[in-house]
Amino acid sequence: MKYITEYRDPQLAQAYLKEIRKTVTRPWSIMEVCGGQTHSLVKNGILELLPKEINMIHGPGCPVCVTPLNLIDKAIYLAKEKGVILGSFGDMLRVPGSKQSLLEAKAEGADIRILYSPLDAVKIAAENPDKEVVFFAVGFETTAPANALSVLHAEKLGLKNYSILASHVLVPPAIEAIMLDEESKVDGFLAAGHVCTIMGTLEYYPLVEKFQVPIVVTGFEPVDLLQGILMVLKQLESGRAEVENQYSRIVAEEGNMAAQEMIFKVFEVTDRLWRGMEVIPMSGYQIKEEYAAYDATRKFDIDLEEAKENEECIAGEIMKGIKKPFECPNFGKACTPENPLGAPMVSSEGACAAYYHFANLQEVEES
């Protein structure tokens, strides 16, 4: 953990903290949706610095954590039973499927490769014309252009042996699902800066209107987070609910239009199951009919039973802000990063792993 004096701009951080302490008059729950922000809040020790009235809730914004069990099983099935070369981002490898993880499948000889970019998977497909190559395309809106582009590049190269297993999730429908959930009580949101780099901020206006909840687009560095929290707090304390943009140095209102165009060339919006949560309407992307040849679920006959989630894992309640990781009976005991029961303990952006690695929050929360 770092100390405030080590922040890039300690004076500014101090000033925001002071202002936060001065402004707050009652308890509020603020959710950061993005796992990168959770990671930064915990790793930089910001949670301990905030006044106790401010309860940060760590939302479902880690794509690795919300990828359904069943899709991990499918990825393993493709690698093992269909003999495909499976490309994946590194964080996915240790996430438990119903029987094993990708890493365990790899140890048993499946050809599973950790890749930096889906575009690298296209290269592998071009180099191995006699093999099928599948990229495990997880991600939020930030990652969708790259995954879409990989399909478009494969098409340009005339490749017939490339497809993606798409598990794309979208932030605004998740915010809506959380607001509609009666158990979760979120007063305001930090929206993820990099997601908005692609999608812009316009999608958040209807949500603010409908739920009268402040949403502030925020970056991921400590000073950004403190400023974002202060902006939400000021709205809450004065009874306002607006879309504000803390991260305007990077995020334009309309987002990146070229990227959006690329996304909607290949993908269309669909209902999607979030691991630990439920099916959220219109909360993900699937490949359009036009590009069906690049959709691994349509290309391969995947004969698998729908596996059940591990019932001991309370990831859903954590992502909705009903419980904190240390309230899970397995936390740090049956469930550790070396031996995770649920996905939030795996990815460095998952709330359980972040608490396990960087925080000694139990005392703080209980005091």
């Binding site: 880690c62 981002f89 890749l115 930096y116 990652t143």
Partner: protein, 95 residues
Amino acid sequence: MCLAIPGKIKSIEMKFDGTVRMAQIDFGGITKEASLEMIPKAQVGDYVLVHVGVAISIVNEEEAKRTFRYLEEMGEIEEELNIQDRLPDRSEYRE
């Protein structure tokens, strides 16, 4: 896996029969290829935010350098760029 990392465009090359702009991008001494299709205006020398092999926006030099230093201190660069070796001069930042 959701962060975008700032880097500097070293060179640009047209690929796929001249239809796609790909760049060599320098991330503090490590070079990776990235697509410029999402930011058609980007030129050699520009700083860009890159996420999983795709440049998603142009940023100014000061912002790029500041963000890079922050990510480097936090030990996020290797993970995002999927490089196994450590960057030089970094050991003191690791847990």
